[in-house]
Every structure is written in C-alpha cells, then in structure tokens.
C-alpha cells in the first residue's frame, strides 16, 4: 500500500501549479486556438513531467539514473538542434517570397522590426541576466518560434521552457499587442495614409536563384547563421523548383507536423516544477512582451523616419508588419488600415514587410549567435 501511495505523498504545491499551467496551455490551445500545434503538446508535457517520480523524465532509482523518454528526445532533438532546423525546412517550403521579390523595399521594415530583440537584450542585462541568457530572452522578439528555440538551445537550454512559451504565446497574441502598440506611436492621420502598389514582375528563375543566393550572401556575413538560413532556403528551393512538388508537400505538412509534435512535448521536459516556478520565469515572460512591443514600435518609428525624406509617404503601420509572425501581423495591419479608412488597401505592402520579417528574424538570430561570446 505504501508503494501505491508513494506518488501521492510526494506531490508538491509547485507540481500542482505546473499541472494548472499545463491545463491553461491546453485550454488556450483548444478553446482560444492560440498556436495549438505547440501549446497543446507543451501543456500535456508540463503535466506528465510534473507527476511525482514521473518515468517520462530522468529519475534516480537506487542511486542509478534511469533516463526518461522526454530527456532522451531532448538530447536527440533539441540539444543537437535537429528539431528546430528540420522545422525550418517546412517553413521555407511554406513561404512564398514573391511579395518581397516584387517589392524589395519592404526588406527595410523587416530589419527595423527586429529592434525589440536588441532592446530586450539590453533590458534583460540591466535586470541581471548574464549576456547569453539575455540574448536568448531577447530573441523572443524574433517572433519566430524555431529561431528562439535554436538560439536558446545554444546559449541557455535551461530557459528553453519559458522562452518557448513566451515566443509562441505572444505570436498568438499579435492581434492584441500590435494594435495597442501601433496606436501608441501613430496618429489617426498617419494610419490613414494610402499607398499605391506597383509590384515588379518576377521570373520563376529569380525565385529559384533567390534562396541559393541569399544563403551564400548571408552565410558569408554571418557563418553561424548558415544552418538557420540554409535549412529555411532549402525548403523554399524545394517549393520553387517546381519539380519536387511531392517533397515540398511533405516538408510543408508531414515533416512540420511530426517535428512539431515532438518539439512541443520535448520542450516540456524543461518545465519541471522546481526549475520552472521561479521569479526568473516570470521575468522572461514579461521581457518577451517587451520584445514584441518594441519590435512593433521600432518598425513604426522607422517608417515615420523614412517619411521625413520621402515624397510618397509610407503608412507607418507597415513598419509593424516587419515582424516574423506571418500572416497574422499583415492581417492585423490591413484590418487597422480599413478601420481608419475603409477604402485603404495596404495588405500587399504589409505582406511584403511580413515576409521580410521572416527573413530578417533568421538573420537577427544568426547575428546574435555571432556577436554574443
């Protein structure tokens, strides 16, 4: 009987709190549709790793470490960076770089909207986080889950749980965060600015050469970023070459789905009560929000800055679409533009900036890896 009651007697308050957090993540995934593909496995994982003496994670039994399946998966898929990189192939296969090739000027907004990353690194440093941990927290502002996980795996694997939760939760909350941040730094008149869309024609050859060329150019500048950018662009090459449709299809669906299932539940291995329920976790979640807000503000202020020199004004909200959360951010911007003026159609610009954000977030991740020692 004692053996049966052993688990019950070993429950701690912190573990119960983690069950509740797991339940909240599952609720957000199911009821609110907040990034369900990742939050649901993470929520369930958070519950199973916090069952006392759970065999899912490594336990000491009679002085011997018995490895749990989640720790084995963690070593195989996260420590080796395999899972986030494989997801990049699928993401690359999903992205159509057409809008950015038709209107490359939008690349600038993708760059500007990474400001939140570096601002948050400074803030995390001020709050006492060591540089590598601060960099991992700042990269939440990439608004790109796999990039955040990739950088955190390299610099602060112990913080992977809260960083992943923050990254994916705030991506789901873009429709709430961005309108508020944009209104903070723009006037109604600025939000009503109309823009004329004049796309360049793009050949299929350009679409095929682009992923190869961008890998070489970025790789020469930030060699550390080669795995990130190369896997993303390899996926895109599968899509654009038009002779590997079945591989592109597999990358977009089966590959991404399988890895997402494994990634979510494996990250949960880092959500063990004793390590997770700390003030540090709360600070990371708060700093993630700061990163998203300052990405938005950085993009908008950059667009306003450009308007000082341009005769044909840019709607500054386009700057906010330069984050990587695709296509949610572009949709939010178009919705806001139409709310101010129902004849204002800036969706194609916003989509261009949003696609630029996907490229720029990966570049930012690579630069952080290169600059932080």
């Amino acid at each position: 009987m004692d053996i049966v009651m052993q688990g019950l007697a070993a429950i701690t308050i912190k573990q119960i709190v983690l069950w509740v957090i797991g339940g909240i993540l599952i609720y957000l995934a199911v009821a609110k549709d907040f990034e369900p593909a990742l939050l649901l496995p993470m929520g369930f994982g958070a519950i199973i790793v916090n069952i006392p003496m759970s065999g899912a994670v490594t336990q000491m039994i009679d002085g011997t470490a018995v490895e749990g399946i989640l720790d084995i998966l963690f070593k195989a898929g996260i420590t080796t960076e395999l899972f986030p990189l494989l997801i990049f192939i699928g993401i690359g296969a999903m992205i159509d770089f057409g809008p950015i090739l038709q209107n490359p000027f939008m690349l600038l907004f993708g760059g500007a909207a990474q400001f939140g990353i570096f601002f948050t690194i400074c803030l995390a440093g001020l709050l006492g986080f060591p540089l590598k941990e601060a960099a991992s927290i700042g990269i939440i502002g990439a608004a790109d889950g796999p990039t955040s996980i990739y950088v955190a795996t390299k610099f602060a694997p112990n913080l992977l749980g809260p960083i992943s939760i923050a990254a994916y939760s705030y991506m789901a909350l873009v429709p709430v965060i961005q309108p508020w941040a944009i209104k903070l730094v723009t006037s109604k008149k600025e939000r009503q600015i109309r823009m004329t869309y004049r796309p360049e024609s793009v050949s299929q050859t350009t679409k095929i050469v682009f992923p190869i060329a961008i890998t070489i150019v970025t790789g020469l500048i930030a060699p550390n970023a080669v795995p990130l950018i190369a896997f993303l662009m390899f996926g895109n090459l599968l899509r654009e070459c038009k002779v590997l449709d079945s591989l592109s299809d597999t990358a977009q669906h089966e590959l991404v789905n399988i890895i997402t299932i494994l990634l979510g539940i494996t990250i949960a291995a880092t959500m063990q009560a004793e390590k997770f329920i700390t003030i540090q976790t709360g600070m990371i979640i708060a700093l993630g929000l700061v990163a998203f807000i300052f990405d938005t503000v950085g993009g908008v202020l950059f667009a306003k800055f450009l308007n000082l020199f341009r005769t044909e004004k840019v709607n500054p909200m386009i700057g906010a679409a330069g984050i990587s959360a695709f296509p949610m951010s572009a949709r939010v911007i178009q919705k806001m533009a139409q709310k101010e003026d129902n004849q204002n159609f800036i969706l194609m610009f916003a989509v261009g900036a949003n696609v630029a954000g996907q490229i720029a977030s990966v570049i930012a991740g690579g630069l952080v890896l290169m600059l932080v020692h």
Binding site: G111, F118, V209
Partner: protein, 52 residues
C-alpha cells in the same frame, strides 16, 4: 537593483546587431534588384516554351 555595467556589453550589441541587420538587408535588396535585371520576367515564357 539594475546592473548598469551590463550596458557596456549590451549597448554595443544593439548597435552592431541592428547595423548588421541593415547591412544584410541592403545587400539582399541589391541582390533582388540584380536578380530581377539578370532574369527578367519574360524568362517565364522561355521556361514555358522549353516545357512544351
């Protein structure tokens, strides 16, 4: 208590990071312009013709 000393490390990172992003972005802008010049849209027609 704020760790002001950290700014010695993080501020240069902010400047170099944002500077680096804009350098790469500008290079990509030029790259796209070059690709569009070298492979103009009418290339599509040639690919279509070759397929036929």
């Amino acid at each position: 208590m704020l760790n002001m000393m950290s700014l010695e490390e993080t501020l240069p990172l902010l400047v170099e990071g944002m500077g680096g992003i804009f350098v790469v972005v500008m290079l990509l802008y030029l790259l796209i312009k070059l690709l569009i010049k070298v492979f103009p849209a009418k290339e599509n027609l040639k690919i279509e013709e070759n397929k036929q």
